[in-house]
């Protein structure tokens, strides 16, 4: 005996308990809103539920017989996942939007929530999937038998009666386990977070265990891959396995193609794959990583398949041991019993993972799509108002789980010995592949109709039964094989494995070809010749255009009258009172209604209730229940078009509204800015006016006061009178200067100034300016020095204006220089682009803060006495003039060391210099 039975059983149960613990923890975290499965890695690992006991044990088995031919089953999913972002994402979006919980619901919902389609799909699934479940049971049972059996693996197992068979009890234990954490929630869109966490964990275990045995065999029993393959290539029988064509079978490439296609469709439409990939998806962005991590997982788990198969063949010799169990028998043969136990746990993971997800998924389908419609047909059930049915629903699902596992056991018991693991699995794959035309075309082709789907499915399924299922049963010895060899009633054309005389293909490819071809052709042809009903047409729109309809404007295809009360009662019945209350509260919150009582039973609410019910009992049953609870008007195709039109108008309208409000916002912003600018301009103008007023009134004050005093004082002494008259004359001059400069500045700023441009010789300008002011310098005992070269190139400007600027700078300098030792230097320098003129004085200089303000209007700096004659406008005007000619003006000074005012005039004026000047003027 390899290992004691008790130990293996105990460890297996401990492992299941651990899984349950993980599931429980996952559920608890989900309830707390801290999901442990919200990660692309967990998501990818959960998709790896694809790798069942079939992969774990069966791949090696297949590889040891057919070599590289185990690979297409994994290359198919690889190719399918390349398109996951396109196809699966759409499936996820549709399922999330319409609360679709199974592949049957997905297809039925697309074709007008047709209960017949839902039922047919479920039926096909159950019939197709039972062998697959049987396969898992068989694998565990065989592994268990080997692990606990006699040490010599070549001994055959003694047959047992069913009640002695541990497999039955294992199946029942599994059913109990699945019920424990699979059917706690009712609404499947609430997702089984715990289950997914457990499945992801199992995926890790099975990968690690398989890699462990692979490494053990390759590097423990042999000297690496080179050694292993070297020995394989020396044995012609084994070397043949490394080649594509290892037998005499024709049409090999079509078989290869068929297998890849089959696996590709299976990875999308197997109930458990749909469950983990679509229904349990937390965030569709996770798909981005899972799309390549899952193929990577497949790659890794397949790395050692060939080495183990070869090692088994070399070690045991061909035909001496069950190749399906090489992963266990090889370590056992080497005495590595603990490794074998670990590998067995890995296999248990693969098998239980599949059984758990598959039975949960299929039980939902059985409940929603087979049992519920039957129940709804009974009048008593439909007309019984009130009463919480959630318990009933759960019970149905639990019974369905037990029933599925028992059916699996039955199949295993009856037919299991006849077939290798892989062949059983392929039968299931071929059944599920029948869903592909209806589901895939349904997502992209609005013209597909329910009549087409029903015909296609019926024909495809019928051909599958005839060409694959019945032969497999017949070969197991349960029905006579006569029809295989001679056709029914002697009609050779209808022979299941050479249908219509097609021969040369292996049974699987043959069956797949006929069933899929029949299915597809019937589906397309009938779809072309039938018109979809209103409900179908509307569902087609919702499915095909699902990505266009995010946001609040999706059309609601429902019309009639409803009462909130009825809807509440209906929801309570199927969702339970708490979930129902939450549903209505959510709706009220979305609409901004104060309470549930304030809600209006409009189409949107009915739609919401129906969608939520669909999550609990499937869309077809939800449709029936809603229809029975409200007073609805039949939907005609015209209504669908009208509603669609309205929705698109609404969308266009809201789009336009959005655009409009955006442009309004922009306009408002612009106006606000313009207003700010106007306000600040207004303030500037006010400040300017106020300054001008101040400057005008100041000399007027003196003049008026002195005049009045002279009038009131006829006896004023003549000297006094002369002094006063002198002041009055000076102040009058100041007044007229001021008025002149204000007008000058206003004209320049407004662009009304007259400019008499000519080619100006800068040297002449400087000479003229210096000549007219030099006498005043002499009066003050100051030196005025000019440093200028000769032969300046002419500059296009107004000579008088430039003289005005120079005089302003010179008279400012004159004011600040000390008497008798004053010194002012005028520098004129020419370069290629223009002329720089600088006037440097040896006055007190200007502080940094004052330098910043020196060009501001009415901003006089320095000692008050020095600018009694100044108006505070000279420098601003000068700068305006220089800027008018495209130049700039500046001041440099260090307090205590004089100041230098300078300007630069470019020879070539920028075209926009005038505009620039004006703009600057406005800004001031």
């Amino acid at each position: 005996m390899n290992l004691p039975i008790g130990l293996v059983v105990a460890i297996s149960f401990a492992y299941l308990a651990l899984l349950f613990g993980i599931a429980w923890y996952g559920d608890r975290r989900a309830r707390q809103g801290r999901s442990i499965i919200s990660s692309p890695w967990v998501y990818a690992l959960s998709i790896a539920v694809y790798c069942t006991a079939w992969t774990y044990f069966g791949s090696v088995g297949r590889a040891s017989v057919e070599g590289v031919w185990f690979l297409p089953i994994y290359l198919g999913p690889m190719l399918a996942m390349i398109l996951a972002w396109v196809v699966v994402r759409k499936m996820i979006r549709i399922a999330k939007t319409y609360r679709i919980t199974s592949v049957a619901d997905f297809i039925a919902s697309r074709y007008g929530k047709n209960p017949v389609i839902a039922g047919l799909v479920t039926l096909i699934t159950v019939v197709g999937i039972v062998p697959y479940i049987a396969l898992q049971l068989k694998a565990i049972s065989a592994g268990f038998g080997l692990l606990t059996g006699p040490s010599d693996p070549t001994l055959t197992e003694a047959s047992v009666t069913w009640w002695q068979d541990s497999t039955l009890y294992m199946a029942l234990a599994l059913a109990g386990f699945i019920i424990l954490f699979g059917t706690r929630h009712l609404d499947m869109t609430e997702r089984h977070e715990g289950m997914v966490a457990a499945i992801a964990f199992e995926s890790i275990i099975k990968l690690v265990a398989f890699l462990a045995v692979g490494l053990f065999v390759t590097y423990g029993m042999f000297n690496g891959l080179g050694d292993l393959f070297g020995r394989a290539l020396n044995d012609p029988a084994i070397a043949q396995l490394m080649r594509f064509d290892h037998g005499a079978t024709p049409h090999l490439y079509s078989q290869w193609f068929a297998l890849i296609l089959l696996a590709m469709l299976s990875v999308l439409f197997l109930p458990r794959q749909f469950q983990v990939m679509v229904v349990e998806n937390v965030d569709e962005r996770h798909l981005k990583r899972a799309a390549w991590v899952f193929p990577l997982y497949l790659f890794l788990i397949n790395l050692f398949v060939l080495p183990i198969a070869i090692a088994g063949l070399i070690h045991f010799g061909p035909g001496q041991a069950n190749p399906d169990l090489f992963v266990l028998s090889l370590p056992l043969a080497e005495g590595a019993r603990w490794l074998a136990l670990f590998v067995f746990i890995g296999g248990l993971s693969a098998a239980t993972g599949m059984v758990i997800v598959e039975s949960i998924a299929v039980s939902t389908m059985i409940c929603n799509d087979l049992v519920m419609p039957a129940l709804l047909k009974t009048r008593r059930f439909r007309h019984r108002r009130g009463g919480d049915l959630t318990r009933l629903l759960k019970s149905i699902r639990r019974l369905a789980i037990v029933g599925l596992l028992l059916l699996g056991y039955l199949y295993f018991f009856l037919a299991g010995d006849a077939y290798a693991l892989v062949s059983i699995g392929l039968i299931s794959f071929a059944a599920v592949a029948q869903f592909a035309p209806a589901a895939l075309a349904g997502m992209y082709w609005k013209g597909a109709t329910s009549a087409g789907v029903l015909t296609g499915l019926a024909i495809g399924f019928g051909l599958w039964v005839w060409t694959l299922m019945l032969p497999s049963i017949a070969k197991s010895g349960w029905i006579a094989t006569g029809f295989l060899d001679h056709g029914p009633f002697g009609l050779a054309l209808l022979k299941p494995e050479q249908f219509l005389g097609l021969s040369g293909l292996d049974p699987l490819t043959h069956s797949l070809f006929w069933s899929l071809a029949g299915n597809l052709i019937a589906f397309v042809v009938v779809s072309f010749y039938t018109r979809p009903g209103a409900r179908e047409a509307s569902q087609a729109l919702l499915f095909v255009d699902v990505f266009d309809r995010s946001g609040g404007s999706e059309p609601v295809f429902w019309q009639g009258q409803a009462r909130v009360d009825d809807l509440v009662k209906l929801s309570e019945r199927f969702l339970g009172p708490d979930a129902a209350r939450r549903l209505f509260a959510e709706h009220a919150a979305d609409l901004g209604a104060s309470s549930i009582a304030a809600l209006e039973a409009d189409a949107r609410l009915v739609q919401r209730v129906e969608t939520r019910l669909a999550g609990a009992i499937g869309s077809a049953s939800a449709r029936v229940m809603v229809a029975s609870a409200v007073d609805e008007e039949p939907l005609e195709i015209d209504d669908v078009m009208r509603i669609l039109e309205e929705a698109s108008q609404l969308r266009a309208y809201s789009q336009a509204l959005e655009d409009k409000s955006r442009s309004l916002e922009q306009a408002t912003e612009k106006l606000k800015r313009a207003n700010e600018q106007l306000k600040s301009l207004d303030r500037l103008k006010d400040d300017f006016m106020s300054s001008v007023t101040h400057e005008l009134r100041t000399p007027l004050t003196s003049i008026r006061a002195l005049t009045e005093m002279m009038r009131d004082d006829p006896d004023m002494p003549t000297e006094q009178r002369q002094e006063f008259l002198g002041i009055m004359v000076a102040e009058s001059e100041r007044l007229s200067r001021l008025v002149g400069q204000v007008l000058d500045l206003a004209r320049i700023e407004a662009g009304h100034a007259e400019w008499h441009n000519s080619d100006v010789d800068m040297q002449a300008v400087v000479t003229q300016a210096v000549g007219s002011i030099s006498s005043r310098f002499e009066d003050k005992g100051a030196v005025l020095e000019v440093r200028a070269g000769s032969h300046f190139k002419p500059i296009r400007a107004d000579a008088d204006r430039l003289i005005q600027v120079l005089l302003n700078l010179l008279s400012n300098a004159l004011k600040v220089i000390p008497a008798n030792c004053g010194r002012v230097v005028v520098d004129v320098v020419e370069d290629d682009d223009g002329v720089t003129v600088e006037v440097a004085d040896n006055g007190p200089g200007i502080s940094l803060e004052e330098q910043a303000e020196v060009f501001d209007k009415f901003r006089q700096v320095g000692d008050r006495d020095q600018h009694r004659e100044g108006t505070g406008l000279g420098l601003p005007i000068s700068r305006q003039i220089i800027e008018h000619f495209g130049g700039r003006m500046w001041v440099e000074s260090e307090p205590g060391h004089g100041a230098t005012f300078g300007f630069y005039l470019p020879r070539k004026q920028k075209d926009d210099s005038r505009a620039e000047t004006q703009r600057l003027g406005e800004r001031q």
Partner: protein, 64 residues
Amino acid sequence: MKRARSSRLVALFCLGWLLFSFPVLSLWDRDVSLFGLPLFPLALFLLWAALIIALAWLMERGES
């Protein structure tokens, strides 16, 4: 961007399909070994790995 990603994925799918079909597949189906490993299975696994890398690159590259 999204549309571009979708078309690239479809292109990669077609390429993958081509690589795993006749006649491209028959290129590797020879009685040859490389580094002591039989060419055909080795080629299948290498192509597979290359497809995974290409897919990962397409999916993980810059958010659209």
